[in-house]
Symmetry: C2
Subunit: 204 residues, 2 copies
C-alpha cells in the first residue's frame, strides 16, 4: 500500500539547513554536515553515479528508502536550490511533483526523474503522485514549509528523522509551527550509528 | 571525577516547556507530556515520597542520574516556577545553587536539599557546586537559558536528551542560539523505549 512519508536529516538543534541557503549554497552554511552519514554509503554513491562505498545498516536504510519511493513532492524553493546542482541523472529516479505558482513544462531528466510543476496546490500534487507511485510510497522531499503543510492537514502516515550529532545554530527549522501540537504520533523504531540516529514515527 | 552535565526532556520539535509557563503552570501548556515516561518510575515516585512504581531500563537511567548528582545549578526562572510546587522534601536531595540578581538567605528544605542564591554569576555558582559535589556530578538543572549559557562558555562535559515522541508547537526551545554552531560533540549512547529515547552526548 502506498504511504505518504517524509524523511529528513536534522541537527540536534532542529535545523534541516543552515543560514544563507540558495541555489549557490543548497543546504545553507554548514548544512552538508547534517548528512555526513550518507556520503560514504554505497547506495548513495550509486545514485550519484559513483563506484564503491560502504554497505552497512545505514546503507540498508538508504537503499530501502530509495526502493520504496514511487514519487516525490517538493516545494519550489527546494527545487530552485537543487536545479543547478543535481547531476544530469538526478538521484530521485521517479516522478517529482514541484509545488509552484509558476507554470512550466515538465523537465525530463535521465534515469527516470521527471519534474512536473503543479500550480493547483498540494491536493493536486498528491493525486498525481499517487497515480504515479502505484503501491510504492509518496515521499514529501521538503523543504520544511512543504513538510509542515502536509503534516498540518493530516496527510502524513509516517516519517523518519535522521538525527545528526551537530548544532547548526540558525537556518531552517524542520518543526516550527504551533499547530503541530495537535498531531499525535508514536515511535516505531530507533536505529543508531555513530554519525546518525534514525528515528521513525507513525502518525496516529 | 566530577563532570558538569545536564539532562533534560525535550519534545521532537525541540521544546522543554510549553507556552504560558509560570509559577502556576510550571512546565507551560502541555509541558508535562514531555515527561510522561518518568511519572510511572519507582525511583521518580520514591523521590516524591510515593510508594510503588515500575523498575525497568528507564528507572535504572533515572536512579543512576539521581545517584550521580552531587549538586545542582539552576536559573532563577526555573526556581521561581518550582518554588511553590516542590514538596517539602524536594526531589534534589543535594545542594542547589540558584543564579539570581536578588540576594536571599539559603532556603533549607528537608531531605538534603538546600537552595543557595548566587548573585555573582555562573563561575561562582560552579565553584560552590564543585566544592559541594565532591566526586559526583554537577547538574545544570535548567532552564534553557542557563543550559545555553553553560554550553556557550564550554563548561559542559556531557549531556543527555530525553526525547519525547510529541510536538509542543511553541514555548521554550532548548537549543536556540546561533553560537551553539561552534560546539563539537559526539554521541555516546542511545537507549530507546516507547515513551522516550535517551540520547547521550559528550562534548569534544
Amino acid at each position: 500500500m502506498s504511504n505518504i512519508v517524509f524523511e529528513v536529516g536534522m541537527s540536534l538543534d532542529g535545523f534541516i539547513a543552515g543560514p544563507n541557503g540558495g541555489p549557490d549554497n543548497p543546504i545553507g552554511d554548514g548544512g552538508t554536515d547534517i548528512h555526513l552519514w550518507m556520503y560514504e554509503l554505497k547506495s548513495w554513491r550509486k545514485r550519484l553515479g559513483m563506484e564503491g562505498g560502504i554497505e552497512n545498516q545505514n546503507d540498508k536504510i538508504m537503499r530501502h528508502s530509495f526502493e520504496r519511493a514511487g514519487a516525490y513532492i517538493m516545494g519550489r524553493r527546494m527545487f530552485d536550490e537543487g536545479e543547478q546542482g543535481w547531476p544530469e541523472e538526478p538521484p530521485f529516479r521517479a516522478p517529482v511533483y514541484v509545488l509552484t505558482n509558476h507554470p512550466r513544462d515538465p523537465w525530463v531528466r535521465k534515469g527516470g526523474t521527471t519534474f512536473t510543476f503543479v500550480t493547483e496546490g498540494i491536493e493536486s500534487a498528491l493525486e498525481q503522485a499517487k497515480e504515479a507511485a502505484g503501491d510504492k510510497d509518496i515521499k514529501i522531499a521538503g523543504g520544511a514549509d512543504t513538510i509542515q503543510q502536509f503534516l498540518q492537514v493530516g496527510l502524513i502516515d509516517e516519517f523518519t528523522i535522521h538525527l545528526a550529532p551537530i548544532f547548526i545554530g540558525s537556518g531552517v527549522r524542520l518543526f516550527d509551527a504551533a499547530v503541530l501540537r495537535e498531531l499525535e504520533f508514536e515511535k516505531e523504531e530507533v536505529l543508531d550509528s555513530p554519525l546518525v540516529t534514525h528515528l521513525r514515527y507513525k502518525i496516529k
